[in-house]
């Protein structure tokens, strides 16, 4: 894991072509370019730059915005809460809608409800989030002026109001994923002997499903959510650009447009760290959901990677 982070850092450092030339424009003299090189540390050999960047990043210094001179770490710190809020509400929505849909279709596999949900979730899974964003914007903000068009809003209620459309746009794909995945893992769990025992005891099907089958069936869903956070952060770029919200995504987009490499590097680094971190959290939460994992760890048995 540490190796991965180090190499991934070197990748983000390696790729910028020559920011100095781009910054100063075509009329820059070789002397001014050289001066800026020294100032930005670009004349140093690559391993030194990598070590410097790593050393600075470790203490929270990600360099400075090439235009305004503000600290990148501070710019990013201001953007993260917006993106985190968006991603979190999208996941919450996806779980709140996806899990009931999945459970509903597992109740009577092959039935009319199941088929309708299957149809819906395939459509949900295939629609790219930026298409969803634009369609939602078109229908619910322009044609039916129910929701605000752009921005993040001021004050708590207004902010929540502005959050609805982007969060729904991002959640749609995950509603589809969760519903489909939960359905298939529920059907698998329902074949287990212990479920047969429950049924033999005469427990109502609903109790069997909700109380005993749902929890173990959620484990694969949890795993996909870990992956989902990364994809959601990717989708957030589009949602933030389309709905004109401040956040990591629009930061990256603007940095690309203006070739503001320190900001780009910093933002990508933070997204990757968030991604790694959530995957770690998901791994840890297995133990919380699945007593079998907890038992294995407590007994000091082998740990799977």
């Amino acid at each position: 894991m540490v190796g991965a982070v180090a190499l991934l850092l070197s990748l983000t450092i390696l790729i910028p072509g020559d920011p100095a030339t781009i910054l100063l424009g075509p009329r820059a003299t070789p002397e001014t370019i050289a001066a800026l090189h020294t100032q930005m540390g670009l004349d140093l050999p690559f391993p030194t730059r990598l070590a410097q960047f790593l050393g600075h990043a470790a203490v929270g210094d990600l360099g400075r915005d090439v235009f305004t001179g503000r600290a990148v770490a501070q710019i990013i710190a201001e953007a993260v809460p917006n993106t985190a809020l968006l991603a979190f509400s999208a996941i919450l929505l996806a779980v709140l809608i996806g899990i009931p849909l999945g459970a509903l279709s597992a109740l009577k596999p092959g039935g009319a409800v199941d088929q309708a949900i299957a149809f819906l979730s395939v459509g949900f899974v295939s629609a790219p989030s930026f298409v969803n964003s634009i369609f939602l914007l078109l229908v619910f903000a322009l044609w039916l002026p129910w929701f605000p068009v752009l921005g993040a809003g001021n004050g708590l209620l207004d902010q929540l109001w502005h959050l609805v459309l982007p969060a729904v746009a991002l959640a749609v794909v995950w509603i589809g994923y969760i519903a489909r995945l939960l359905r298939s893992s529920l059907l698998e769990v329902l074949n287990e002997p212990y479920i047969r025992t429950m049924r033999a005891y005469g427990l109502p099907e609903r109790v069997v499903l909700l109380k005993y089958a749902l929890k173990p069936a959620c484990i694969p869903t949890l795993a996909i959510l870990g992956m989902g956070v990364g994809e959601l952060l990717g989708g957030a770029v589009f949602a933030e650009v389309i709905f004109n919200r401040p956040g990591l995504g629009s930061l990256i987009y603007d940095a690309i447009q203006t070739r503001n490499y320190p900001v780009l590097q910093g933002a990508v680094l933070v997204i990757v760290m968030l991604f790694v971190l959530t995957n770690l959290l998901v791994d840890l939460s297995y133990a919380w959901v699945d007593p079998r994992v907890r038992a294995r760890r407590a007994s000091g048995g082998e740990r799977s990677a």
Binding site: L8, S126, S184, Q257
Partner: protein, 280 residues
């Protein structure tokens, strides 16, 4: 499995049949784009700008008066060819690295695996976005860089499959019979890993199409005036309040394509590898 048998398995479900139909339609549109387009996709006619659908312009026109139907048709060509080229590259490199990892000494195996891990530790869209942003927009870079993003998936499957075969009895038997390693590789290993790899590729087509459209939407992919669905969608977003047709046609084409390829991919998976089939 014969082709006829595969075809009938695909047609057996409504979803599979729709996927097959959609993909066939998209392929025809992509191949015969010049014949199907009603106008030159890049011909500018400012007095016709932002029109709604009509007999002259089936999907209306964009902000420069270009015919949207023709641009959508040519966009299909871009989307399909990008997906095919990207996946061919990552499939070939992935098989090469995966099989090498499975055969090579432990050090090289670990090295290849950690390269895969590094690529995978990025969210795929963010990685593609960062790479394209820094190395420059354009079709060539886009294809190359998105290919890199997809290599690990193929590499891992190829490696796992090859390892499985290397531990099998028939592999041992071939060795005992004195077959050349290359012969075993070509005759037994490759044919056995190609099925799952092929399924993986078909499942990834909609993902690649989405990434291409997304990058083009953000202006770091296919460059204007070349018509791509992502670019059309961006034009549509810019003129959303004046002329929703742009966004609607581009968005619907994208959804149609991803839906079609997703359904076909899943039907293929169920047909080729029944072990992976979802419980019904």
């Amino acid at each position: 499995m014969t082709w006829r048998r595969l075809l009938s398995e695909l047609m057996a479900t409504r979803a599979g049949a729709f996927g097959l139909f959609a993909v066939a339609l998209l392929l025809i549109v992509a191949i015969f784009a010049p014949l199907l387009a009603s106008h030159d996709p890049n011909a500018i006619a400012p007095m016709n700008r932002l029109q709604g659908p009509s007999l002259a312009h089936f999907f209306g026109t964009d902000q420069l008066g270009r015919d949207l139907y023709s641009r959508t048709v040519y966009g299909t060509r871009i989307a399909i060819s990008v997906a095919v080229v990207v996946l061919s590259i990552s499939l070939s490199v992935g098989i090469l690295l995966g099989v090498t990892a499975a055969y090579a000494p432990r050090v090289i195996d670990q090295l290849i695996l950690s390269i895969f891990d590094i690529i995978n530790s990025f969210p795929s869209l963010i990685l593609a976005l960062a790479l394209v942003a820094v190395l420059g927009a354009g079709l060539g870079n886009l294809v190359l860089l998105v290919s890199i993003v997809f290599i690990p998936q193929f590499g891992r499957v190829a490696r796992a499959q090859t390892l499985g075969i290397r531990n099998s009895l028939y592999f041992e038997a071939e060795q005992v019979l004195g077959a050349e390693p290359w012969r075993i590789l070509l005759q037994h290993v490759l044919p056995n890993i190609i099925g799952p790899i092929f399924v993986l590729a078909s499942m990834n087509i909609p993902v690649v199409i989405t990434i291409e459209a997304g990058l083009s939407f953000l202006g770091v992919g296919v460059r204007p005036p070349l018509a791509s669905w992502g670019g059309l969608l961006h034009d549509g977003y810019t003129y959303l309040d004046q002329s929703p047709w742009l966004a609607v046609t581009a968005g619907l084409s994208l959804i149609f394509a991803t839906l079609g390829f997703t359904l076909l991919g899943e039907a293929l998976r169920d047909a080729i590898d029944p072990k992976l089939r979802q419980p019904r």
